[in-house]
Symmetry: D2
Amino acid sequence: MKHAPVHYHDYLKLDSLLGIQQRRSETLGQPAHDEMLFITVHQAYELWFKQILFELDSVLELFGNQTVAEKDMAIASARIQRIISILRLVMGQIDVMETMTPLDFLEFRDFLYPASGFQSVQFRLLETKLGLKEKDRLLYNQTPFYKHLPEHQQKLVLQALAKDSLFELVDKWLARTPFLQNQEFDFWSSYQKAVKQMFAGDKETVRNNSHLNAEAKAKNLEMIEASEKTFHALFNESEYKKLQEEGHFHLSYRAFHGALLIYLYREQPIFHFPFQILNSLMDIDELLTQWRYRHALMAHRMLGQKIGTGGSSGHTYLKQATDKHKIFTDFFNLSTFLIPRSKVPPLPANLQSKMNFNY
Amino acid sequence: MKHAPVHYHDYLKLDSLLGIQQRRSETLGQPAHDEMLFITVHQAYELWFKQILFELDSVLELFGNQTVAEKDMAIASARIQRIISILRLVMGQIDVMETMTPLDFLEFRDFLYPASGFQSVQFRLLETKLGLKEKDRLLYNQTPFYKHLPEHQQKLVLQALAKDSLFELVDKWLARTPFLQNQEFDFWSSYQKAVKQMFAGDKETVRNNSHLNAEAKAKNLEMIEASEKTFHALFNESEYKKLQEEGHFHLSYRAFHGALLIYLYREQPIFHFPFQILNSLMDIDELLTQWRYRHALMAHRMLGQKIGTGGSSGHTYLKQATDKHKIFTDFFNLSTFLIPRSKVPPLPANLQSKMNFNY
Amino acid sequence: MKHAPVHYHDYLKLDSLLGIQQRRSETLGQPAHDEMLFITVHQAYELWFKQILFELDSVLELFGNQTVAEKDMAIASARIQRIISILRLVMGQIDVMETMTPLDFLEFRDFLYPASGFQSVQFRLLETKLGLKEKDRLLYNQTPFYKHLPEHQQKLVLQALAKDSLFELVDKWLARTPFLQNQEFDFWSSYQKAVKQMFAGDKETVRNNSHLNAEAKAKNLEMIEASEKTFHALFNESEYKKLQEEGHFHLSYRAFHGALLIYLYREQPIFHFPFQILNSLMDIDELLTQWRYRHALMAHRMLGQKIGTGGSSGHTYLKQATDKHKIFTDFFNLSTFLIPRSKVPPLPANLQSKMNFNY
Amino acid sequence: MKHAPVHYHDYLKLDSLLGIQQRRSETLGQPAHDEMLFITVHQAYELWFKQILFELDSVLELFGNQTVAEKDMAIASARIQRIISILRLVMGQIDVMETMTPLDFLEFRDFLYPASGFQSVQFRLLETKLGLKEKDRLLYNQTPFYKHLPEHQQKLVLQALAKDSLFELVDKWLARTPFLQNQEFDFWSSYQKAVKQMFAGDKETVRNNSHLNAEAKAKNLEMIEASEKTFHALFNESEYKKLQEEGHFHLSYRAFHGALLIYLYREQPIFHFPFQILNSLMDIDELLTQWRYRHALMAHRMLGQKIGTGGSSGHTYLKQATDKHKIFTDFFNLSTFLIPRSKVPPLPANLQSKMNFNY
C-alpha cells in the first residue's frame, strides 16, 4: 500500500470502455435498437481474444526455451486450461447473439458494409500463433487472408507467421523427449513388436471364435487387416514422410514417437503434465472448431443464402473453414495407433524410477 | 449504402477498447501475470451490464405507457429474454475467474486498494431499476450503498431510485388487468369459493382414506389446515396490508389478484405473454441470486476470512445479500395460492372469446 | 390423497433402474473401470430420448388436428421449448464422456462388438418424426438405416416413416395460413412489388454514392443483381417446383408464403406463437446438428482413423451426416428473402385488427 | 472378440430402462402430461448419483492405502475431475425441470405423497462418503436424516458413517506430508517468521504512506491488526484445538500445516497433483452447494410457501442446508493464511531437488 488509492471506476477505465458503443444506425439517423447488442457482443469477443493472446504469448515463451522446466510445465498447462475456459465461455456469446432475429439484423446490416468478422486481426493472430499455416487456409475471395487487413495489421500477422507457432514448439519439444531410446529400453522397436503380436492374436481369436459364422469371420479378419495396414506407414520413415508431404501427418517423425510414448505411458508421473497438455491442445481445437461451426449455423440462420457483409460467400465459406482450419489433427489421429494397456510393453524398473520423484 | 464504407476495426473502436487494459502491478513495477485476467473479466462484466441496462431502459419505457400495446408486449418479452440470456452468459465468467488461484490473486491484490466491486455504479443501477429499494438492502459499512460512489454517480442512482422501477411498473400494469371483475365473472369471489371447496374436499378425502391410520390422518389434516391458514391473509384486504407493511408482500392487493388471474388462466391467448413475462422476472431473480451466491463462494475461496479490498466483511456480506436482495419474491410466493386446474373456476364462454383473437 | 402412500425409492423404481449397469468387461473377467461411465452416459441419453419422443408425440398430435386451437399453440410451443432445453442438456453429456481417454476406452471396446449407437431405435424415431426422410439420409454400410435394427424395431421406424412428420404437419399448417390472400390484402403481390422497389432503390443508391469509385460501384451492383436473382425462383411457381424437386426447397410453395408472412409480420399478436415455433424448429435443428458435430469430433479423438464398433467408417460418416441430416433448412434459407422493415408493405387497419385480441 | 456379439439394445438393457417410467397420475386415472418429465429428471439424477458413487468409492479405496502411489494420484485426480464434470452436468437438469410450471406440478403433486427427494439414499451416501457428519446436518422433522429411509438403506448409511470419509482420508494423507519438518527445513517456524515480518512491513508501509491521511492510516492499521489476529490461533496448537472443537476448524492441526505447505509451494512438481486435488475438493463443494441453492430456489418457485411432499418445511429447509452442509470449508478458509509469493520462505536447493523428478 505504498501507492495511491484507486477507485473501481478508474482502475477499469470505465469512462473509455463504456463510451465506445456508438450505433452507426443512430449516427446515420435510423437508430436500430439491436445494433447495440451487435456491438457489445463483438467488443466482448475482442476483449477475450486479447486475453487469450496474452495467455498464449506467455505459453509460447515458456515453450520457446531450449528445455522446459518442470515448474514451467505446470504454469503452461494452467494457462492453456484458462484459454480453454475462455473458449468455452465465448461459445455462449452466440446464444446471446441469437436473441437477435434476422429481420432485426436487416435494420442495420447495410450500414456495416463492408465491415466483416474476417477483418479481426486478433482472431487471425490467434489461429496463426496456434499453428494455422497460410497454405492450409481456405482461400477467401481469391486473396490471402491477411490482405483484408490494414497494412500495419498485415505486418503483425506476417511476423507471427514467421515465428514458431505453438504447434511447432510442441513438435520440437516432443522430438526432444529423452526416453525414446536408451540403453535399457528401445521404445520404437518394443512398440512395433507389441503391435505385431496384437494383430496376430486378434486374428487367431477370430478364427477360433465359435460364435461367428464363416462370413462374419471373413468380415472381421478384413477389418483387422485394414486396421493393420494403417500401421505400415508408421513403421517406415520414408513412407511417413511421403504421407507428411501429402498433408496426412504434420508432426515430425520423431515428435510422433514422442507423443505416442506419452499417450501409452501417461500414468508415469513425469508424463502427467505432458499428457494433460496434449489433451488440452485437442480441447482447444475442438472448441475452436465447434465455435466456427456454430458461427456458420448462425450466419445461415441470419442471412439465408445472402452473401456476407464483407463480400464472402457467407455461411458456406464458414462451414468449409470449420474442419479445414483444424490445427492439432495429428493428436486426434494418434488414437489410431493406441493399443490396449495389456499389450503395451512394460517399462524396465530403473526407467520407471527415473520417471518418478526423487523423494 | 449511402454512407462511407467502414472497417471492422474502426466500427468497433478496437484501438480504444484494446488499449485500456493497464495492469497496475506493471505500472508499479511488479507485473503480476494474472492481473490481466482480473481486468478483462471485470471489463467484460461492465460491457454486459451496459447492454442489460440498455435493454432494461427500453422495457421500462414500454411499461411506462398508460396501456401497453400487445405488439409492445412481444418486444418487451423478447428484451427481457435477452437480459436472461446475458445473465446466463456472465454467470460463466466466474468459471474463467476461478482459473486464478488465491496465491496468484495475492500477487496484486494490495495494489487495488480500496477499489471494490461494490463501486460498480452500473450494477447498482441495474438492481435499482429492477426494483431493489434502499430500505431492503443490507447495510454496507454502516452507510447507504450509494455513498461509496463518486458524486455524479450518486446522482444517477438517486435519480433511478426516484423513478418507477420495473417492479413498480409491473405492479401497476397488473393492477390494471381488465378481467378482474366484470358483469359475467367476478374472479375474486369465484376463486375464494373454489379454494374453500378444495380444502373441504381434501379433508373429506383424508378422513375416508383407508390407507391411513389415525395418526397419519391427524398429521395430514394438520397439514391441510396449516395450508388453509395461509389463504386467510389473501382474502382479507386489511390483513394483507398489514403483512405488506411487515414486508411479507410487496405487490399491491389488486396487482396480486391480477397476477393470480394470469397464473390460473395462462392458457388463454391474451395471457400468453403476461405469463411469460412474470415467469421471466423470476428467471432474472433466480439468475441474479445465483450469481451473487457464486460470487460469495468465489470470494470465500479467494480470500478465506480476509476482509474485502473495499473494506467489506467479504464473503459473509455477499452471502447475506444473496437472498436479501431478491426483488420479485412475491411471484415465487404466489405459487402458495395456486390450486389444481380441475378446481379452477371455468370462465364464461363470452369472456373466453374476448381473451382470444378477433379472427 | 385417496391413494396409498408411496416411497421415493419405489415411485422411481430405483431397484430396476440401478440394477442394470452390468459391465461386460466385468462379466468377461477383465473389469474396466471406465465402462461404467460408458453405460451410464448411454442410458442417460436413452432416458432423455424417451422424454423427447414423449413430448414430440404430443406435439404431433396437436398439429395433426385440422385446425390448431390457439390454446394448443401455447402448449405445443412450451413442449417444443422443453425439447430444446433437453437437447441443450444432453449436449453437455459429451463433456462428461470426454473425461474418458482413448486408452481407457480401448480397455473394453472389443467387448462391445458389434454394438453401436447406430442401433439406437429411439434416435432413429426422433429424426424420422421430426421429418428426416430415408432418401435424404447418408447411406450407412450400403444398406437402409433401419436394416441395422431388430425386426420389431424396424417396424416401428417404418410406421413412423409412413406417418406425417413434424415437418409435414408444419408445412400443411403453414399452407393453411388464413391471411395469405383476402379482399383487403394480397400478400404475395404486395411483397413482390416491395422487393422490386427495394432492388431498384438499392441500385440507385449505389450509382449515386460518391464514396465509391467505379470499380466498387460495379462490384456492388453485381452483388445486388446476384441477390435479386435468388428471388426469381420465388416468384415463379413452376421454377420453385423444379428447385423443390432438385432438393433446394422442401416446403410447399404455399407453405413458403405462409412462413414468409409470419416472419415479416411477426409483431402482430396472432403471429407471436407461430413465429416462436418456427424459430424453435431452427433451434432444434441447430442443436441436433451441433450434437452430431461434437459426436463426430469425439469419435475422431477416441478412435483416430479406426472404424466404429458397428463397422461404420467412424468419424467421417458422422461428419458427413452432420449437415446432410438437417431437417428444417428451409427456415434457415428463408432469411434470404427477408426485406428491411421499412420496405415491408403495411397491413390494412382492419386486417391488423383481426390479427389482434377481441378485447 | 472371443465373446458373443452384442446388440446396443441388449447391452444397455433398454427394455428394462425404458419400461419403468410409469406415471402414477395415469395409473390413478388422471394422467398428467408433465409427470413423465418429473420421473425422467429424477431417474436421470439417480443414474448419475450411482456413477458419482462408483467413482467416489474408487477414490476412497486409493486414498485408503497407507501410502498413495504417485500413479494413483493421477488416477484419483482424474476421477475426482469426472465427478466435477458430472456435477456440472446435472446442475443443468434443473433448467429442464423448470420448464414445468407450478400449475402443471399441482396436477400430480398429491399423488406423490409422501415421497420426497429427502428419501434418496444415494444422495445421503454421497454426502456421507464425502464427509458430512450427522452432527453437522440440519435436523429434518426433528429426526436424524437416515430415519426417513427404509431399514436396509439406513444400514447402508450407518455403515458409510462408520467408515473414513474422503474428508478424513484426505486429512490423514495431509498429516503424513513428508516435507513438514526435516533437517534442512522447518516449514512451520519459517512460515511463522515470514508472517511476522510481513505484518511488520505492512504496518511500516502504511505509516510511511504519504497518500493517506491520519484517519485512513488508522483505519488501515486497524485492518492489518485484525488480519494479524486471525493468525494467532494458527500458531498455537491448544488455541487451534479449542477452535476446532467449536467447529471453526475441521482439519487436524498437522493436516492444516500440510495443506498450507502444498498451497504455498504448489509449483514444486511433487505438489502439482496434491494441489489439484485440494482445488477439486473445493470445486465439488461449490457445485454441490450451488446445486442445493438452485434446488431451494426451484422449490420456492414451484411451491411458494407450501410444505414439501415429504412434510419438510420446503424451500426454507433447503436454503438453510445449502451452507450448513458444506464439507471442505477448511480449504476455503485456508486462503486466510496465504501470504504473497515474495514473502514465502524459499526452499533449500536439495529439498527442491527431492521434490522434482529423478531424471
